[in-house]
């Protein structure tokens, strides 16, 4: 048939779906370093928020402050501190890398090397911190 669909017969135009598909295979020195930077940045933000609130408690009631801080002295919180230090160390080193990439031409051409340096510095920092910290958490000094 040659009859043209009229305006009312025309199917309503569906929203064109955006393809989802596979996860983009980014590089650990590229895409994933940024994903981690954002995750650690947001995590540090929420930590600081809670930390400012609990520290502010001391002005309201020192007893309540002591009680809250006391609940932090558990092995679970000890492990949480490992995650916190890990996140801050990564965000700080990687943030310096991003600054170098932004302001220094050598940084954009050698960014892969810079990213591996960030990972190495992070590993060294954690190797220095984690054993000592966990010993003090689990032996109670």
């Amino acid at each position: 048939m040659s009859s043209q669909p009229t305006e009312t017969q025309a199917p309503t135009r569906r929203r064109k779906p955006r393809p989802a598909g596979t996860l983009y295979r980014g590089d650990i020195t590229g895409l994933w370093s940024w994903v981690l930077h954002r995750i650690t940045g947001v995590a540090i933000f929420f930590f600081l928020l809670v930390h400012i609130l609990d520290t502010a408690l001391v002005r309201i009631s020192p007893a309540a402050y002591d009680a809250v801080i006391g609940t932090y002295k558990t092995p679970i919180m000890g492990l949480g501190e490992v995650a916190l230090v890990g996140a801050i160390a990564y965000h700080a080193f990687n943030g310096l890398r991003i600054i170098l990439v932004d302001f220094w031409q050598w940084g954009t051409t050698h960014q892969r090397l810079l990213s591996w340096i960030v990972i190495a510095l992070w590993v060294i920092t954690m190797a220095g911190f984690v054993p000592r910290h966990l010993i003090s958490v689990f032996t109670g000094q």
Binding site: K16, R18, P19, A20, L31, I98, V101
Partner: protein
């Protein structure tokens, strides 16, 4: 010819094709609500490219498979697609460079509206390209009978960004562009860079002002996906960084 077979070197084994599985993300806007994956087994040689595999499927198995290609030699920029999770040109991706013990995943580039199978609507991409005024804007005409001259060193400053073929592999590899379609995207910035740093051009400031926008260069988070994706080997992230610096240096002077 009677002597020919004897003259052939004996060790020359016949080159045999092997079976490769492609898993292609299909979408037919007339019947499908959502895109879906479909498997194809094709006989290929190691010298074949992903584009040859798509041709084989389209010509011999399923003529409805839809994709864009024109030159088949990495020049026209038609066939950027996501191959095994990375943006590549199908015509420049050799089968022998892929791990064929596993299926090859092929899907449309991300962040642009999907039209059909591997075809996306490139209009938003070209809109950003046009917005940066990607053409020479000289203040004065050259002396009659001459052209605008340029030294080798002046030409070298923007040589890298002259190579762009507008395939959109970079822009559609950018996580910022995926979530914010308003972002100009790497390709538009690359093509702005090509004229901003051209000594014959006098409208650098116009383009820098356009890119000094909320949706301009400052959206870039230096993930380097674009640099990895560019089939022309353009240092895309570096070009963006140079534009950022040009904006900063200009406004510092004021």
């Amino acid at each position: 010819m009677s002597i020919a077979p004897a003259a052939l070197p004996e060790a020359e084994a016949p080159i045999l094709p092997f079976t490769v599985t492609l898993i292609i993300r299909r979408f037919d806007p007339e019947v499908d609500e959502e895109p879906h994956w479909q498997d194809f087994d094709v006989e290929l040689y190691s010298t074949d490219r992903v584009l040859d595999a798509l041709h084989k499927i389209k010509w011999e198995v399923d003529g409805s498979l839809t994709f864009r290609r024109s030159c088949a030699h990495g020049i026209c920029g038609s066939d950027a697609m996501r191959i095994n999770g990375r943006n590549r040109l199908a015509c420049k991706t050799l089968i022998k460079d892929l791990d064929i013990s596993k299926p090859i995943y092929v899907e449309a580039i991300k962040g642009l509206p999907l039209e059909k199978d591997l075809v996306v609507d490139m209009e938003p991409f070209f809109e950003s390209f046009r917005a940066v005024q990607p053409f020479l804007i000289p203040k004065s005409a050259p002396t009659p009978g001459h052209e605008h001259t340029q030294s080798v060193a002046e030409r070298a400053v923007f040589d890298d960004t002259t190579k762009c073929i507008l395939c959109a592999a970079c822009t559609s590899s950018c996580p910022v562009f995926w979530t914010d379609g308003q972002y100009f995207g790497p390709a538009a910035i690359v093509n702005a860079h090509r004229f901003i740093f051209d000594s014959r051009d006098d409208a650098a400031q116009v383009r820098l002002d356009i890119l000094n926008d909320r949706e301009g260069v400052w959206r870039c988070r230096t993930t380097f996906n674009c640099t990895d994706a560019c089939p022309r080997g353009i240092k895309v992230t570096q070009a963006i960084a140079e534009v950022k610096q040009a904006i900063m240096n200009n406004s510092a002077k004021k």
